[in-house]
Symmetry: C2
Subunit: 454 residues, 2 copies
């Protein structure tokens, strides 16, 4: 007797099964033979920090270009871009002086873009505020000749630490400029972290349109230092704060975005982009910010090649230069794409740390978002299925226009600011599996976009 088993499956069921098999293959490739962790080891431990214009940044350009070349992509090239060059100089030094001869050293670092202190350092009384908006009430009378100490902490009861960061980063960005307007001679900014530790966290600042002779030096103080300073000020309001920093802004220098491409076989002149930023701050080694995003993006193209996926669109990995203090790479890339009429249908950035990925945020129209939202169940077995509307990434922001889909990888963010922009952002804080899950999820999303978005 012959029994015929006939299975009826709809086209969409067959396709869904195919997609789920491909995703499984992608995750297996990432977790069983991933390269991102080894690349990040090199980038972090062989090269180290990669501030725009530094030798580290230059080495990182050459290293990633070489690694992309090894992947056998259709094309790998460097896109020239002029970038700012700011150097920290000798290690900063600071102390709190409660009486002549009685002082306690404390950990500070110059904010990126700050001017140096006068030769020999700067010593002055301190006025503590909880944010820029408190300056007006104090007025010039209480600020002139003093150092303004911005001590607004990140709000610990916000679940999303990026929101907590957003709530006080303004004092870092514009604090010096605003305080200078009231005659302050310097500013100290509480480090942007929820952790209580001794690491000062740097980050970019701006003097806006302030004349050069009005610019005042700005430094970050560790959270432990900030708490100590604040408590000591209550006991001794006349204490003086001393800091010495020799940072300097130099003329712009030549640098590069690093780009690799797999040619699409249907729409070779339309592009899907995945990237992170290759530059980092000069403290730590930039493993989470954003070495992780770079190696995950490189891994996307490696995995697609490895599983022999032939994309319909051309797929580019872009390692942007100068996200941290200028965004020149992102702007340059978008300007060039515009000039060459390169239509980008999708751009994805990973720049929120190498932690366990939980989903993606999307900045696009309703139609695209609803289509993509339907794919959540495909990513659920990997627990990376929170697809929601939100921002994407700074570097891909300049690509924004009607009809493009911008997206950001969204990892668990509880630990991110413990490391961000500090000596504490190092390779040992990276977990191999967490990093690999991110690269795999990014590859899966790009596979789906390439296959279904028209």
């Amino acid at each position: 007797m012959i029994i015929l088993l006939i299975c009826f499956e709809s086209n969409s069921q067959v396709t869904a099964k195919e997609d789920s098999i491909t995703l499984r293959k992608i995750f297996d490739t990432a977790l069983l033979e991933g390269m991102s962790y080894d690349w990040l080891d090199d980038l972090s431990n062989e090269i180290g920090s990669r501030l725009s214009g530094s030798y580290g940044a230059e080495q990182a350009v050459l290293y990633t270009q070489e690694k992309l070349n090894e992947l056998g992509l259709d094309k790998v090239w460097l896109q020239p871009v002029m970038v700012p060059r700011w150097t920290r100089g000798v290690k900063e030094y600071a102390y709190i002086e409660t009486a002549p001869g009685e002082s306690t050293t404390t950990n500070v670092c110059a904010l990126g873009g700050s001017v140096p202190t006068p030769y020999g350092g700067l010593k002055a009384e301190v006025v503590e505020v909880n944010g820029i908006e408190e300056l007006a009430a104090l007025g010039r009378e209480k600020i002139e000749g003093k150092i303004v100490f911005y001590n607004r902490p990140m709000q610990a009861n916000l679940i999303n630490t990026f929101k907590a960061y957003g709530g006080c980063v303004g004092q870092r960005w514009a604090g010096a400029k605003e305080a200078a307007n009231y005659g302050a001679v310097g500013v100290i900014v509480r480090s942007m972290t929820l952790s209580k530790d001794d690491f000062p966290h740097t980050g970019s600042m701006s003097y806006g349109d302030l004349d050069d002779h009005l610019k005042i030096p700005a430094c970050a103080i560790s959270t432990n230092g900030a708490n100590y300073l604040s408590n000591t000020l209550k006991l001794q309001p006349k204490l003086k704060f001393y800091f010495n920093q020799s940072c300097k802004t130099h003329p712009d220098v030549q640098s590069y975005n690093v780009i690799g491409e797999i040619k699409g076989n249907v729409y070779p002149n339309k592009y899907i982009l995945v990237g992170g930023h290759l530059d980092s701050w000069d403290l730590g080694d930039g493993s989470h910010d954003d070495g992780a995003g770079c190696v995950q993006s490189m891994e996307v193209l490696r995995i697609l090649k490895k599983i022999n996926y032939q994309p319909r669109y051309s797929i580019r990995v872009v390692l942007f230069m100068n996200e941290e203090n200028g965004l020149r790479g992102g702007r340059k890339y978008a300007a060039e794409a515009d000039k060459k009429n390169e239509e980008h249908i999708f751009a994805l950035e990973s720049d929120a740390g190498g932690f366990t990925p939980r989903g993606f945020s999307f900045d696009t129209n309703d139609e695209y978002f609803n289509t993509i939202k339907n794919w959540e169940s495909l990513f659920e077995p990997y627990l990376i299925h929170q697809f929601y509307r939100g921002g994407s990434g700074a570097d891909i922001g300049p690509l924004k226009k009607e009809g493009i889909i911008l997206s950001g990888l969204r990892p668990d963010n509880q630990r991110y600011f413990d490391h961000h922009h500090s000596d504490n952002d190092t390779f040992d804080a990276i977990n191999k599996r967490e990093l690999e899950l991110g690269g795999a999820a990014m590859t899966g999303l790009i596979y789906m976009i390439d296959k279904y978005i028209d």
Copy 2:
């Protein structure tokens, strides 16, 4: 003109709003004035490891009893339980000898419950297998007089690391007994971790009904050591492995479960339980396994008191003794509850590490599960909203019966086995916010259970 704004809200909307306000209050209390991190600091750094029957375990009983007393609960007490006592003795020593006089030391630790090596240590040839099921094919002929080396690795492409653990923990638990049956003189087990490092990971093992004189010593080797041994065996199959361990099983000793209770104001004789296990292995300080679960459970009762919540049911925190090598505490608690006819409607255990919580698993009937599943949206703002069917925790397992709801906190598990049962399970691997989010989520769930489950 007077404008009357009349809002119509259904009862269920009002209740949902009330619940969401209470949850917010719970999370604020945990994140802004949490105690769990400080308690864990004491437990990990002042007391350290807490193997059943050790002085550390005894100190932990006294410490947590004192802290529960400080919370002003209605009742705090110790529940006596006899526990096994196994001691590691002097630090283990092992080497791989490729030729007489040519050897490389490697890191091992005795498995919990193992017998010691003969005086002076044990040296023998090695036969490598990928799991217990390979022994039969080798037979007594190839095993007798040798050390069996179980080298099955955890499967890296499984997303859930607990599943990967489950896939090879059998060789640790029963490997010695099975190998002894073929005349092996000892066993080495690859450490249960996905990380490549030098930490050997201990854990419980059993000789089953094997006669004392047939018991053979068993140790764990670090993953780096296992890879080295395996590679060296390929070059030199006749190499010898030496190890020396002086561990010992002593008579049972008196210990305790630590219990605290808030009396219910409607059903004082029905119970909701939350707990973790106070004992740990003797390596590291047991911060993740399971100091974290203990302090999170204590935090649940602290937060409920702090927000002045009057529970309908009596709520108990139970810090169980001896989960790791006997489960005596869990069994004793369930037996006593049974004897006293204490009806438990819900029991929640946190024993999967102090990492970012992602949801809860539930072991209960359809009706309860469907009710609870409806609460997911309430936990979504905290990203702790994956409620699914699954196991709960070893200590609360003995409470299982018709009509009870058992549940386990489910944190991110990517890093868990990097630390589990090794020198690497230490307080510095704990993130304050991640720990606190777990305690808050547990409090929120217990609040909902208390309010809505009848």
